[in-house]
């Protein structure tokens, strides 16, 4: 950085800080509508301390929670064709992409990183709902393929956190094809004997649910997450009836046998670590299986 950034940036930051109002320090819970102080919210990883409502969380915060600070490396994702259909609705697709990039600082709706959990290599992909609703186009498809391939290279596990409205309409049929593409990548990972853990967060719907999200060796969801194929409004319009209470919520899916567990955000790392201990036995140099530790002593300090 230059002398300019050293001198000028803090001053600008001070200016911004001074204009901060009460509003930005407090967040209203989307569940119980109580006000939460920003430090409390951060400490609880965006889970309401009053009612346990799971609010959205930035992918990098999730990565730190999973791997610990500095315990992971974000990989650069392969480039894809910018606007394969030259799509235009009320706005041009490249303009929508540009806006999303400015807003999130991300190239597309996904982050892929690798690190270790319990000394097992793990590749983690996280969909970012703030980027065009976490929609799956060729970039997300390419990233899932890259993540699965990296996991195979590292003989590691794959963990995907989904959050998506479904396929990206602006990429039309190519978005639909990403369902087959990601499924093929997952199939090859599984054939290599490596575990894939799918974590569904709010919301996980459409083509993402109907492809890699529902194909986990183990399926986990965060409490209250909406998970489904069709949107609730579409279903309501089709059947012209009110939907049952809790419909398409994680707990509802658990009751219907669609998930292995609903786990609060604070427990995800511990659960994933346990699963990987069982599914990925560590071998000694002589090839003998090492005993599974009785508790998560090696997992003592989650970030």
């Amino acid at each position: 950085m230059s002398w300019l950034s050293d001198l000028a940036l803090p001053k600008i930051r001070d200016l911004v800080r001074k204009t901060q109002t009460e509003e930005t320090l407090w967040t209203k819970c989307h569940g119980c509508e109580q006000m939460i102080f920003h430090r409390d919210l951060e400490a609880a990883m965006n889970v309401c301390p009053h009612c346990g409502f799971h609010m959205r969380i930035a992918p990098d915060v999730r990565l730190r929670a999973l791997f610990g600070d500095g315990g992971f490396t974000v990989i650069e994702l392969p480039r894809v064709k910018a606007d394969p259909l030259r799509f235009r609705d009320r706005k041009r697709y490249p303009d929508r992409i540009r806006e999303a990039r400015v807003r999130t600082g991300r190239r597309d709706a996904i982050v892929v990183a690798h690190g270790e959990i319990g000394s097992r290599p793990v590749v983690c992909a996280i969909l970012d709902f703030d980027f065009m609703g976490g929609s799956m186009g060729t970039a997300v498809g390419e990233a899932i393929v890259a993540a699965a391939r990296l996991a195979r290279l590292q003989e590691g596990a794959l963990v995907i956190f989904s959050a998506s409205g479904g396929a990206r309409m602006q990429e039309g049929i190519l978005s639909l094809m990403q369902m087959a593409r990601t499924t093929a990548a997952i199939a090859e990972l599984k054939e290599a004997g490596l575990p894939y853990i799918s974590v569904m967060t709010n919301p996980t719907t459409g083509g993402v649910t109907a492809s890699f999200a529902m194909l986990g060796d183990v399926s986990i969801a965060e409490p209250g997450a909406i998970i489904g194929f069709a949107g609730a409004r579409v279903i309501e319009e089709t059947i012209r009836e009110k939907l049952p209470d809790g419909f398409q919520r994680a707990e509802y899916l658990l009751e219907h046998g669609m998930l292995d567990m609903v786990a609060p955000r604070s427990e995800l790392r511990r659960r994933i670590a346990s699963l990987l201990r069982h599914l990925m036995p560590v071998r000694s140099r002589e090839g003998a299986l090492l005993p599974v530790p009785a508790n998560d002593a090696e997992e003592a300090a989650p970030a």
Binding site: V145, M169, Q170, L174, L176, R181, A187, M214, F229, I235
Partner: protein, 316 residues
Amino acid sequence: MQHYLDFERPVAELESKIKELRRLSESDGVNIVEEVGRLETKLDRLLVQTYTKLTPWQKTQVARHPERPHTSRYIAQLIEDFVPLAGDRLYGEDHALIAGLGAFDGRSVVVMGHEKGSDTESRVRHNFGMARPEGYRKAARLMRLAGRFGLPVISLVDTSGAYPGVGAEERGQAEAIARSIETCLQIQVPFVSVVIGEGGSGGAIAIAVADRVLMLEHAVYSVISPEGCASILWRGGDQAEAAAAAMKLTASDLVGLEVVDEVVKEPLGGAHRDPAATVAEVGRALARALSGLEERKPGELLRARRDKFMGMGRLG
């Protein structure tokens, strides 16, 4: 009573004129052969004009035409000794996706497809071609059966989409579709899909991850219906025409995007004007595609199928 689409009105008028003239000539003995001939030439020309430059939205309507041949028609005409097979072995039987064993062009195959039905009663029974999880689980079960006995798989795609209902969601519509796609990518037998009408989203691709994907000239295949796309991106379902154009959902668009391998020509005026000829043409294309695939080794087929779908949307 023939069903005419809005843009076919001039065709309808001309055809009714011809019919009227024929009726007159029968009752009055008036010789109007020449006049009828002239009108028929005009009709052919009109059909050519209309059908060579259908807009994507018009194609969508043709693809949904109620008299368009559906899966059961293809099975009746192309498959000998058809043995329908039912049920997913988990919950139920889904009439929206029909399937079974049969002989196609001298070989035994597993054939499956969405069935929309052709009158009110059968449409209701087949749930308008919108399958529930049981349909996709049956499809996956029969793909595995085909794999076990080395039988090629033929799938016919004709659905507006998977059924959006409470029970369908409760029983895992998304899981069933995902698992069906996964099964498509696991079987080691030749696999050909034909989009014969509407290829609607996840409900379509669930059975269309094949070695060769063929598509009828006026069929459509898309990630969402034009109406759905319009209501989300344009905030109005009345913009469906614009959405249809933007989505690139026609057979020629999809060949350009390398999602579809081959376009099967339809008779003049669309499949609904001559179902028998349409089905026969699809049969010839299917026979060619299958014999090409049968020359290849099974492991090689699966590898190529996976590579093909893994490459979709890749840069360069």
